[in-house]
């Protein structure tokens, strides 16, 4: 155990979810007789779920600010239809149609953000209305008929990277290149991390770093091989590439920018954030607008994969995205959740879907199992918090020193979740003082 800790550093727990995902894949592979870990299955898994994972990126930000967006499926469908119609009926070039779709997404987001941030209608209501409005508009605009889209969209939604270079590598060289870049980046960031820790006076044995590097490079290498060695002409799918780029952008945005800090501040304690100079209205507005922008990207990828925009595109996507975010460790009360965690949560759902299908489990039973997994994941999280430990994925964000050996006061567990706090019966501080209500609440 001590050695494990040295390998994974203080963030042992942040790998738990990732390890669970790998375990799930391995188990399904064994049970399905090797049909899980095949190139075509993984290529399908990524291009068939990229749109939900993209929605999860935006959704985790919405949930971190303490809101929810029920309209993303309808918005994705709406944008897909606007794009398809602008090309098919009004003769837009494909790129102009796509641009129009993205702009439509931003405008829709501004609309939702306006009602939430400026008027103060809770996000649940605002987006429930949005869900109806935009679904209605899709059906209205399309007259309930599917509209085909040009080939270029198929490239975005289901295409593959080009083939080039020598054939002796035995795999798609574009994928290989991506894998090498990924591995190199990881090695570099690991070296950086090590240097920073040493600078702060912490001891990091060299062998631990090496084991980490070897383990993760092996995983990256295997995944590269898996995606790159499929039938000729296939590679790591284009929607996957778009997803990876978005994940990197949004991971940096949420963790390394002022805006990102503001999101967590507003979600953790809105009043305190406002008194620290955070423009809470603006934060709400931008997060909602961003959500619809990402829904627009998801909608465009989907019509590419489906080769047409249909009136029921995007139905129930919001629920998949929300489930992914909560499996990924976000807190319903806001303030906690990460982009990476949500992607892992989304992948768990995707692997479950795919694995159960390979095992011949029907869609009905799959639904039941997915529901139970969602409950179990969140229950585990809640239980952990009540025990005074923070959530698995919460660690990703909070980056606590060493897994919970703080001089923890017993009073802290409740205040983190807000659940264990009892009414004031007998609380000395509350009752012994003749309290006046707080000015902010009066």
């Amino acid at each position: 155990m001590k050695h494990l800790k040295q390998i994974f550093g203080g963030s042992l727990q942040q790998y738990t979810m990732g390890l669970a995902l790998i375990l799930l894949v391995v188990v399904f592979n064994l049970v399905s007789g090797g049909r899980m870990l095949t190139s075509s299955n993984f290529q399908n898994l990524i291009s068939g779920n990229a749109y939900v994972l993209i929605l999860a990126i935006g959704m985790v930000m919405v949930i971190v600010i303490g809101q929810i967006d029920l309209s993303v499926g309808s918005v994705a469908g709406f944008v897909g239809m606007v794009t398809a119609l602008s090309i098919a009926q009004y003769g837009f070039p494909w790129w102009a149609g796509m641009l129009l779709g993205l702009v439509a997404g931003i405008v829709v987001g501004a609309w939702q953000g306006f009602w939430l941030a400026k008027i103060g209608i809770p996000g649940f209501i605002t987006t429930l209305a949005g869900m109806m409005i935009f679904r209605g508009l899709v059906i209205w605009m399309s007259k309930s008929i599917s509209v085909p889209v040009p080939k270029q969209f198929q490239f975005l939604g289901a295409g593959y990277l080009p083939e080039w270079g020598p054939a002796w590598t035995g795999m798609n060289n574009s994928t290989l290149l991506l894998g090498l870049i990924g591995a190199a980046w990881f090695v570099r960031s690991e070296m950086n991390r090590r240097r920073h820790l040493m600078e702060r006076g912490q001891e990091v044995p060299l062998w631990a770093s090496l084991v980490r590097i070897v383990l993760l490079v092996t995983v990256i290498g295997y995944v590269t091989y898996l995606f790159g060695s499929g039938r000729p002409g296939t590679s790591f799918p284009i929607p996957g590439v778009i997803l990876v780029i978005l994940v990197i952008i949004y991971h940096v945005l949420t963790h390394r920018t002022r805006f990102g800090r503001h999101i967590y501040a507003v979600g953790g304690n809105k009043a305190a954030a406002a008194l620290s100079g955070v423009n809470t209205q603006r934060t709400y507005f931008l997060v909602m607008m961003n959500m619809s922008f990402l829904a627009a990207i998801a909608g465009i990828l989907f019509i590419g994969r489906a080769t047409a925009a249909g009136p029921s595109d995007g139905t129930m996507w919001e629920l998949d995205a929300i489930a992914a975010v909560f499996i990924g460790g976000a807190a319903v009360s806001g303030g906690i959740g990460t982009v990476i965690g949500s992607i892992i949560g989304g992948l768990v759902m995707a692997v479950l879907n795919s694995g159960l299908m390979l095992m011949g489990v029907g869609a009905d039973q799959t639904q039941v199992i997915k529901g139970l997994v969602l409950l179990a994941a969140v229950a585990f999280d809640v239980y952990n918090k009540q025990q005074g430990r923070s959530s698995i994925i919460g660690h990703l964000m909070r980056n606590f020193g060493s897994g919970g050996d703080n001089e923890a006061g017993s009073t802290t567990a409740g205040s983190i979740t807000g659940q264990a706090e009892l009414p004031s019966a007998g609380g000395p501080v509350v009752d012994a003082i003749d309290t006046m209500p707080e000015p902010a609440q009066r």
């Binding site: 390394r256 050996d405 802290t412």
Partner: protein, 521 residues
């Protein structure tokens, strides 16, 4: 006084919370038909005593006896005390805004016909009760459309519906304007004439002088004294002495002040209550802060201290009406917190947990949170700089934590407060407003915070300290302003001030003629 004249007697009431003895053998008698005032500083134990009396803290959770109408009472719930005719009206009104006046009055004791509510009888009885409190409104009016003063009267009507013998009013006028307050005091006299006994908790000496027949002063959970009030005259000095009556020990660090020129000036500052139009929370405030000076603001809770501070801090409270803010010789008008911080003002809130901290953040994220710009290079936060800054403050302020990555929720109150202070020192403000900076922290940590306040002042900053603890203000400040009901009622050099003078000015709006309460109609 003879036994038959005594309606209520509380004998040697002791109430303990874990680690705190809130009431220590409190004894008091209330005569039938009196208006009996209870005075004391914030936290003296007045509300706790009333909660014991009304059954909020059930029999068995305290020691001592409650004798009511000659027999011992063992209340287990509020309901059981109400059945005996003891009704408490809390500071925060307990009416439901969406329901009508009649529905609120009979909530929990609905007038029934069979298994259904008899609305007609309810309305008639409500009209009768409303007439008794002098309120001429339709019983079907929704509570939310009434003003606070009228709501207060509805509460009293509700109490009357329960055949009240002893009515307890906890700071009944704290949310009322002057007219409504006068009206309420009149009503209390009227109830008294009808034989209803009242206990009134109040900070306002002029109100006590106007209506009460007897006064009990409580300090630090003990009864200090009870005495009669003759013909509407109260010896205010005696009450004030009894309320504060403790000496300043050597709990404050010494300092050689180096006071410079004027740094900030506030002129003609008026702020309106955010939801009650016309109610001035800050009334024509004028004050100055000098470089290197620690300036105290003394006032009872609800006097408008916090509201004044927050309205200066980017208008983060209430509706700003008028006034000038001059900082470093230039007039500024920060309209939001961001601008206030940029102008060089910092505000440390009195309520650490709900307004000051994001409890799920780590120490380092909290420390940099008011000055993120400083750790941003080319749009990206620099974790190494963040660490460096946080470590620097951890060492300087001696924050006791294993590392700056630890969550703030795991820290003690004193260390949390140091983290919050670090957060506001980091933007390098010119003016620091500290609202109850030592609330809820132990004596040792207090001393460290006092030293920190002094060192901030010695660095040439102006420090404004708001506190309910008068000894604290006298111990650490150079100059003290007093606030009462939104007005600044006095300005004293700390060396000239004592607790009695401060308390007098904190409880009277007319500083020039303190012995003549202006409120009595």
């Amino acid at each position: 006084m003879t036994a038959s004249h005594v309606l209520l007697e509380m004998r040697r009431i002791t109430k303990e919370f874990p680690g705190v003895r809130a009431l220590d053998e409190v004894t008091m008698q209330v005569r039938r038909g009196d208006i009996h005032a209870i005075c004391g500083e914030n936290g003296a134990g007045k509300s706790t005593l009333m909660k014991v009396l009304s059954g909020v803290y059930p029999h068995g959770t305290y020691e001592g006896q409650i004798m009511f109408e000659g027999s011992e009472m063992n209340f287990s719930t509020i309901k059981s005390s109400e059945e005996k005719g003891i009704v408490i009206i809390h500071q925060e009104l307990a009416l439901i805004p969406e329901l009508s006046v009649a529905e609120n009055i009979f909530l929990g004791s609905e007038i029934m016909r069979g298994r259904l509510i008899d609305w007609e009888a309810s309305r008639l009885r409500a009209m009768d009760l409303l007439a008794r409190v002098g309120l001429d409104i339709d019983p079907d009016t929704a509570i939310k459309s009434l003003g606070v003063g009228q709501q207060q009267l509805v509460e009293i009507a509700k109490a009357l519906s329960k055949d009240v013998k002893l009515l307890i009013l906890d700071e009944p006028t704290s949310a009322l304007n002057e007219d409504d307050s006068a009206n309420l005091l009149d009503l209390m006299r009227g109830l008294k004439a009808k034989g209803i006994t009242c206990i009134m908790i109040s900070h306002k000496l002029n109100e006590i002088a106007a209506v009460s027949d007897a006064v009990t002063v409580i300090r630090d959970g003990r009864t200090v004294e009870t005495y009669e009030v003759v013909a509407g005259h109260v010896d205010e000095d005696r009450i004030i002495r009894a309320m504060v009556g403790r000496s300043i020990e050597n709990r404050y660090p010494s300092r050689e002040p180096h006071i410079g020129d004027e740094l900030m000036e506030v002129r003609g500052w008026n702020v309106e209550h955010p939801s009650i139009p016309g109610r001035l929370i800050v009334n024509d405030a004028h004050f100055t802060l000098r470089r290197g000076e620690v300036v105290g603001f003394a006032g009872l809770m609800g006097a408008g201290r916090t509201e004044l501070a927050r309205s200066i801090f980017g208008r983060s409270y209430g509706t700003w009406l008028s006034g000038q803010l001059i900082l470093d010789g230039e007039e500024i008008a920060p309209k939001n917190v961001e601008q206030a911080i940029a102008a060089g003002i910092a505000y440390v809130t009195e309520d650490r947990k709900t307004l000051g901290l994001n409890l799920i953040d780590s120490i380092k994220k909290t420390i940099v949170s008011a000055n993120l710009r400083d750790i941003v290079t080319r749009g990206l936060l620099q974790p190494r700089k963040e660490n460096k800054v946080a470590e620097k403050y951890r060492k300087e302020l001696r924050i006791k934590a294993p590392s700056v990555d630890v969550g703030v929720s795991t820290l003690s109150g004193g260390n949390q407060q140091k983290v919050v202070l670090a957060k506001w020192m980091y933007p390098a403000p010119k003016v620091l407003i500290l609202d109850e900076p030592t609330r809820g922290i132990d004596v040792g940590a207090k001393y460290e915070i006092y030293k920190l306040i002094h060192s901030l002042a010695n660095d040439g900053k102006a420090v404004m300290v708001i506190s309910s603890e008068l000894p604290e203000l006298l111990g650490i400040c150079d100059r003290i302003y007093t606030i009462c009901e939104g007005r600044i009622t006095g300005e004293l050099a700390a060396s000239d001030a004592d607790q009695e003078t401060l308390m007098r000015r904190m409880t009277t709006t007319s500083a020039t003629a303190p012995a003549a309460p202006a409120l009595i109609a």
